[in-house]
Symmetry: C2
Subunit: 140 residues, 2 copies
Amino acid sequence: MKLSTKGRYGVSAMYDLAVHHGQGPISLKSVALRQGISEHYLEQLMGTLRKAGYVKSVRGAQGGYTLTRQPAEITVGDIIRIMEGPTAPVDCLLADAENNKYCVRAGHCVTRGVWAKVRDSIDAVLDSITLADLAKEDKS
Amino acid sequence: MKLSTKGRYGVSAMYDLAVHHGQGPISLKSVALRQGISEHYLEQLMGTLRKAGYVKSVRGAQGGYTLTRQPAEITVGDIIRIMEGPTAPVDCLLADAENNKYCVRAGHCVTRGVWAKVRDSIDAVLDSITLADLAKEDKS
DNA sequence: ATAATTCCTATCGCATTACTCGGAAAAGCG
DNA sequence: CGCTTTTCCGAGTAATGCGATAGGAATTAT
């Protein structure tokens, strides 16, 4: 049940952008430095966030990244789901046909209900916390 | 945030033992068959559960495994923690000195509080469900 | 004795993670 | 214009863990 660095770094980076929101493009280099993340690795993660529409970028000198929405409108859950995929602890909870092969036993699977409750409680926590909440308790 | 098969199979196997609790030793073979798990792989998982004191084994013909406590006294959380390790989504939440190296930033880490809340909500769900609860809604 | 069963150690292919590397393309600045 | 800063992109890579499989030793009911 571990989170990978994708999720952790993603949230840290987005938190950093939230703290500096409204100050123009923030360079990846400065984010990486403040958050203690490998610059080159963070580059890949920001690509994911950009393609998902959560940040926009400005290339060239004095360029960088900015949030596309207000910090209060982006939850930690949004970021985790983009960086790590669905929060469901087991694949058989996923709705798409692709995964039904994993769930021939779905009809008589007693544990399935347990995992659904876990997923829901994780989502409830992650979706209740916005970047604005985190930026407010700024300890950087 | 995925659960591995260790946790899933572990819960399934323990659920199976709970359903047949009081019927003497249950062979690994029959558990594997009913739950759709590789017999040889399950063997390793049962070893972990045995060493943790949750099941006891009888060797030889007509042997097998039995729960060491009543189904109502074993929670899904117990099993998951044995099979998968701590439910903390990030290592920096672990108390032991071994992991402090990962947390030089602990003092000013805003995201840490988020992960603690996630862990607590996962634990609350998993610790609230016992094997007796699962056995009650037997769909096998 | 034999068959059934747990126990133990080792190995293995595969996927993922967490990077690193090298360079192309864009844009501000002198 | 040319230089530097910065994003963008694809490849490569070492280490790790997962989900088994393999083979056999030890134990015990029948």
